[in-house]
């Protein structure tokens, strides 16, 4: 029962040293009716993965391998031209990163909505407007006012909601949100998350939320996938992953989150910095440089993402129990070694 099945997806970018993978052999399912959270640091490839779900990786990037099966559409990587344009926004609704800034400043929201309708050859534009108003009202916006507004007349949280209206107005069944709460303050973040959960349930969507904030996602997601260095390193039901993280990176991410409860001194920032296209390890595990559990084999063979118990997958050579009971990363701050400036 997966609405979207990503298999062995590899996305490469052309650089001065050749084609380098930003996403390397990622497999991920978006299950029908569930919210999947995809977390990772900057440069982990999560936004690239999300864009490839629209087959819209910008040049100099390309999808180099793998398939993306979307229910009712087929393999997105093989679509082109008109079919692809129809799928984008039609079957798959996408709320862009900084969607606050993805609206046209010169047109009212309503006019942009009509543009969307025309480009998707919607016959009944009145019905489209009515549906948009209805969606906006259900998200706590004043539909009439919003459609007559320019983007600068709306607050950040309101623009984010307008982004969701645009993504859903054509009855998309798959909703992808890229960093929906970044740049919003706490109160707006809480209300946007609330609304995402509500429209997800009301419209029976399959939702993917991409974020670097494991705290925000844990509030509403059903499943969690953790991405590092272009690989998915762990996934499973959210509550289970948070309680029993079996990948050292997941464990470190949870430990590095500033929380309102718990021991202030127990929290540790991740040492080192996340790899980018050029610094990611070519052989062995991509996380081994920052991993407190790394053993010899980690430098030689890359661990496969394997199911180790029902519903849970991980890509790590170290036993799950060792990671669970072992230490969180022992990074301290203030010392140069902790920052791990690559030599």
């Amino acid at each position: 029962m997966s609405e979207v099945e990503v298999r062995d997806l590899t996305v490469e970018y052309q650089t001065s040293v050749g084609w380098l993978p930003a996403v390397a052999g990622a497999s991920l399912d978006l299950r029908a009716g569930q919210i999947t959270g995809l977390v990772g640091e900057s440069g982990s490839g999560k936004s690239t993965l999300a864009l490839s779900l629209l087959n819209a990786v910008p040049a100099p990037g390309r999808i180099a391998g793998g398939t993306i099966e979307v229910a009712g559409v087929g393999d997105l990587t093989r679509l082109g031209g008109k079919q692809l344009r129809k799928a984008r926004g039609g079957a798959i609704g996408y709320v862009f990163q900084a969607s606050q800034n993805s609206l046209n400043p010169l047109k009212t929201i309503g006019r942009q909505l009509l543009d969307l309708g025309r480009s998707h050859e919607v016959g009944d534009l009145r019905a489209l407007i009515a549906r948009a108003k209805d969606l906006a009202n259900r998200m706590g916006l004043d539909g009439d006012r919003v459609l007559d507004s320019y983007q600068h007349e709306l607050s950040g949280g309101m623009r984010q909601r307008v982004g969701i209206v645009f993504a859903l107005v054509l009855n998309a069944k798959v909703l992808i949100l890229d960093e929906p709460t970044t740049a919003l303050d706490m109160l707006s973040q809480a209300s946007v998350l609330d609304i995402v959960r509500k429209v997800h349930d009301e419209n029976q969507l399959s939702t993917l939320i991409i974020t670097h904030d494991i705290g925000a996602i844990s509030e509403i997601a059903d499943r969690l996938a953790v991405m590092y260095g272009g690989r998915i390193v762990e996934d499973g039901p959210l509550l289970d992953v948070l309680r029993r993280p079996t990948h050292p990176y997941t464990k470190a991410l949870i430990g590095a989150t500033a929380r309102i409860t718990g021991d202030v001194d127990g929290a540790r920032a991740l040492p080192g910095r996340p790899p980018d296209l050029t610094t990611v390890a070519r052989a062995g595990c991509v996380f081994r440089d920052r991993c407190p559990f790394a053993v010899e084999v980690c430098a030689q063979t890359e661990p496969e993402l394997e199911t180790f118990e029902s519903g849970r997958r991980r890509a790590c050579h170290v036993e799950p129990s060792t990671v669970l009971t072992g230490p969180v990363l022992t990074g301290t701050t203030g010392t140069p070694a902790a920052v791990g400036e690559p030599a």
Partner: protein
């Protein structure tokens, strides 16, 4: 030591369509920042917390109240004379991506203020070492490897590293106070704690005091002991107390709404039983004679729309002549609400989390 007494700032906007509008960004903010201490301000966008930070660094003027730095009332001085006080108060900006000049290396960025500082020291007859040594010292202090970072341009550094460079730059002029305005909100969650504990370290090691401005209450817990938390709403402090105390037993409904908005890490935490949310969106246009939060308050009562509450300790009537008491007592937990009630809104750690 910085003392602020009743700082106000009002902006006049002249809109071409909407007509003139008066925005009261700050409506009388008091606080005391002891040497080596920490004061945090939390509030949502548009509550005036950034304006306050700018006033403290001299980037913005205030039109009422008094700012006292080390016993000197700044409004009595000429602008030129104020400079040396503001020099010792340095700002760490929100966005490390735009706070650094992209065409200058880290060495150039740190070099200018350091050479200036060395000339000043020499003029004052103090011992001034080489600025290069000082640059290396500062970078080491903020947790960067000098030889690796000095020749780099900002785009070659990660967000967290850039923010460390910004902090090192603030330290070049030997400040006694750092103002961190949303210093971690643009940084990856995984790197935030590193910056926060650096700020905490600077407090402990150099005795630098810290004004921490944020919308994320959780981060305010990490700036160190003895920090005081001010909850600011539409330019007015509505609750104040020790950080942990305010987080654990908030009494003002606005504080409770802010704390309820902090995401609960399900699996490790359970939502607080009294979680609440504002009943309406922020609307600054409608003037309210009573409590500013009343139109959005889930617990508003009869008095709230008519009278304006003042800061009082728990147990006193917010309508009373509490102003004097509140201004005097800097350490206690005070609030500005007619119907204060402690509610449990913050997530509770699940017992099994540590196992």
């Amino acid at each position: 030591m910085i003392q602020a007494r009743g700082i106000t700032r009002t902006y006049q906007t002249h809109g071409s369509f909407t007509g003139d509008r008066t925005v009261r960004a700050l409506r009388g903010v008091d606080f005391t920042l002891p040497d080596g201490g920490a004061v945090s301000f939390i509030g949502e966008s548009g509550c005036g917390k950034t304006t306050l930070g700018k006033i403290l660094t001299g980037l913005e003027t205030f039109d009422g109240g008094e700012l006292v730095v080390d016993g000197v009332e700044l409004s009595k001085l000429r602008p030129r004379q104020r400079e040396k006080y503001f020099r010792r108060i340095q700002m760490i900006h929100q966005d490390p991506y735009s706070a650094l000049n992209p065409t200058r290396t880290v060495e150039a960025t740190l070099g200018d203020p350091l050479r200036m500082r060395a000339r000043e020291k020499a003029a004052a007859g103090e011992q001034a070492g080489s600025w290069r040594e000082r640059a290396a010292e500062l970078l080491t202090l903020v947790g960067l490897e000098p030889t690796a970072v000095l020749p780099k341009y900002p785009h070659q550094l990660s967000g967290g590293q850039r923010q460390r460079v910004v902090i090192a730059r603030a330290l070049t002029v030997d400040p006694t106070v750092l103002i961190a305005d949303e210093a971690v909100s643009m940084i990856d969650v995984s790197m935030r704690l590193g910056i926060l504990s650096l700020l905490r370290d600077l407090r402990a090691r150099l005795g630098i005091s810290l004004v921490f401005i944020t919308h994320d209450v959780a981060t305010a817990r990490y700036v160190g002991d003895g920090g005081e938390l001010h909850v600011i709403y539409r330019g007015e402090v509505v609750e104040r107390g020790l950080t942990d105390e305010v987080i654990l037993s908030p009494v003002h409904p606005y504080t409770q709404c802010l704390l309820s908005a902090v995401p609960v890490m399900r699996g490790l935490e359970e939502p607080g039983p009294d979680r609440t949310a504002p009943t309406a969106a922020l609307d600054e246009r409608t003037p309210t004679p009573g409590c500013l939060f009343q139109p959005r308050c889930p617990f508003a009562g009869a008095q709230c729309a008519e009278k304006h509450p003042v800061l009082v300790p728990f147990g006193l009537d917010a309508a009373g002549q509490g102003e004097a008491a509140a201004a005097e007592d800097g350490s206690g937990h005070v609030h500005a609400c007619f119907y204060p009630e402690s509610r449990r809104v913050v997530g509770v750690e699940v017992g099994a989390a540590s196992a």
